[in-house]
């Protein structure tokens, strides 16, 4: 592994780490590397860095690597880590916050599919007030280029009456618009 000058990385990323602590309400500095989070994480096998290593990287100020990791996108927010952490760190909440920050910085990388998913999802809710399941599935397939994904279950779902062809629009769409406009106004 390459050498890292921690004094340097920490001073360079001081403001970011402060913002992360404030937004998440969590202090990664509390982690003492017991690795219970990693041991219990059901998706560690698909991550580039296990959760305990993300904690250590934050302690060392390796912010760019963390924000560019696949881990923050493929965390399923199941909160097994949070439940078991003996230092009471809400690790899932930290992952959430990191994902929000990466999302707003436009960092996609290995989490490209997840970006497409979240953007399509939020647009669907903005336009209808509720999630339009077919629209979401189509939007994801077009956005990711995986055109055939889940086409095998589409027809059976339709036959079972589990898919509505048209979206349901709620009456209070103007209120939803106000909420979205406000989110943009405060920089989210």
């Amino acid at each position: 592994m390459r050498e890292v000058n921690i004094t340097q990385t920490l001073s360079q990323n001081k403001d970011f780490l402060k913002k992360l602590r404030k937004e998440s309400g969590q202090n990664p500095g509390q982690c003492f590397q017991c690795m219970k989070c990693t041991g219990g994480c059901p998706f560690q096998f698909t991550m580039d860095y296990p959760p305990s290593q993300i904690m250590r990287m934050l302690q060392d100020g390796l912010v760019d690597q963390v924000l560019n990791s696949f881990t923050i996108w493929t965390c399923a927010t199941c909160s097994t880590c949070t439940t078991r952490c003996p230092r009471d760190i809400d690790i899932a909440k930290l992952m959430d916050t990191l994902r929000v920050i990466a999302y707003h910085r436009g960092i996609a990388g290995k989490g490209r599919n997840m970006r497409v998913f979240h953007t399509t999802f939020m647009n669907s809710v903005k336009n209808n007030g509720r999630l339009y399941e077919i629209g979401l599935a189509l939007g994801i397939n077009l956005g990711t280029g995986n055109l055939m994904q889940d086409t095998d279950v589409g027809l059976p779902m339709f036959m079972k009456g589990k898919i509505s062809i048209l979206p349901h629009k709620i009456k209070g769409l103007n209120e939803i618009k106000k909420l979205y406009d406000y989110a943009r106004k405060i920089g989210e």
Binding site: S79, V100, Y103, N113, D152, K162
Partner: protein, 288 residues
């Protein structure tokens, strides 16, 4: 007793049978469900991945609508909706800054929120006793699968059950007369939030859960979560294809089995909407 009912997006689509079966059993159990007027999506799980305000404001709007019904309790069957709504109420009452943002956005002032946010298991758990069981589910051996969102993380939510070894569904199923088998995957995550974006992870998680359920000797998997259900049921054929397995395990909502035990006819419980047909199993045990 009147309860504000928030079906959430999946109950009008991919989880219709949960909606159907909840409506079928709530009347006999003495509950009147009042649908939250003009409800919106709670935003799970994208709102909290893309920002803080909307992940709070979307469920907060639903809480305000629910309060307007005059009900004392609010229930959301989908655990993701439940968790987001519970958290939003906590922020509404405890984080003045967040509430201020909401008031600014909607141009209105709001008082504190007092409606009790409950999961649907919690609501039924209190009311369902042996007296309601007309047709015990004798001979049915099940594993109860809670998934992750229902019971975690316990330090933030005041959950009604143990986060590592929950028992509420087990007890409900025993009351129904079924046999609940102990198994180690009660709360293992099924990866539903990744089912569109990282399917390799999803298929592996589902394969593991199905395999452990089969090894435990279960006839069926009992679920409460809409996302777990569609993942384990609808995607069972995809798992079989990918791993060359031959799983054929019905994945049934606890409310459907409660309905059967209460003597409600199978055709009023949405059993035909499940992908893995539970009828041959139920017929072989003379339960339908």
């Amino acid at each position: 007793m009147k309860v504000a009912y928030y079906p959430g997006c999946s109950l009008s689509g991919s989880a219709k049978e949960l909606d159907i079966s909840i409506k079928a059993i709530s009347g006999p159990l003495g509950m009147e469900l009042i649908e939250v007027p003009d409800w919106n999506c709670c935003g799970a799980s994208s709102a909290h991945s893309t920002g803080h305000f909307l992940s709070f404001a979307l469920p907060a709007r639903n809480i305000l609508k629910a309060e307007s019904t005059g009900c004392q309790e609010f229930t959301a069957p989908c655990p993701a909706c439940y968790v987001r709504t519970f958290l939003a109420q906590k922020q509404f009452n405890e984080e003045p800054e967040m509430k201020q943002h909401l008031e600014n956005a909607l141009g209105q002032k709001f008082g504190p929120s007092s409606i009790g946010i409950k999961n649907v298991i919690e609501v039924f758990m209190d009311k369902f006793t042996q007296n309601f069981v007309k047709k015990p589910l004798k001979g049915l051996r099940v594993v109860n699968y809670y998934g992750c969102a229902l019971v975690k993380p316990p330090k933030i939510f005041r959950f009604f059950d143990d986060p590592e070894n929950p028992k509420s569904l087990d007890k409900l199923m025993e009351t129904c007369g079924a046999e609940s088998i102990e198994w180690p995957y009660k709360t293992e995550c099924c990866s539903a939030s990744l089912c569109f974006t990282n399917q390799d992870a999803t298929f592996k998680a589902c394969r593991d859960i199905l395999q452990v359920a089969r090894d435990a000797g279960a006839h069926a998997i009992v679920v409460a979560c809409t996302l777990c259900q569609s993942n384990l049921d609808m995607r069972q054929s995809q798992v079989n294809k990918k791993y060359r397995t031959n799983f054929n395990i019905p994945v049934i909502y606890f409310t459907q089995l409660m309905g059967l035990a209460m003597g409600i006819p199978a055709d009023r419980l949405g059993l035909d909407k499940l992908f893995v047909d539970p009828k041959p199993l139920l017929r072989s045990l003379n339960l339908i």
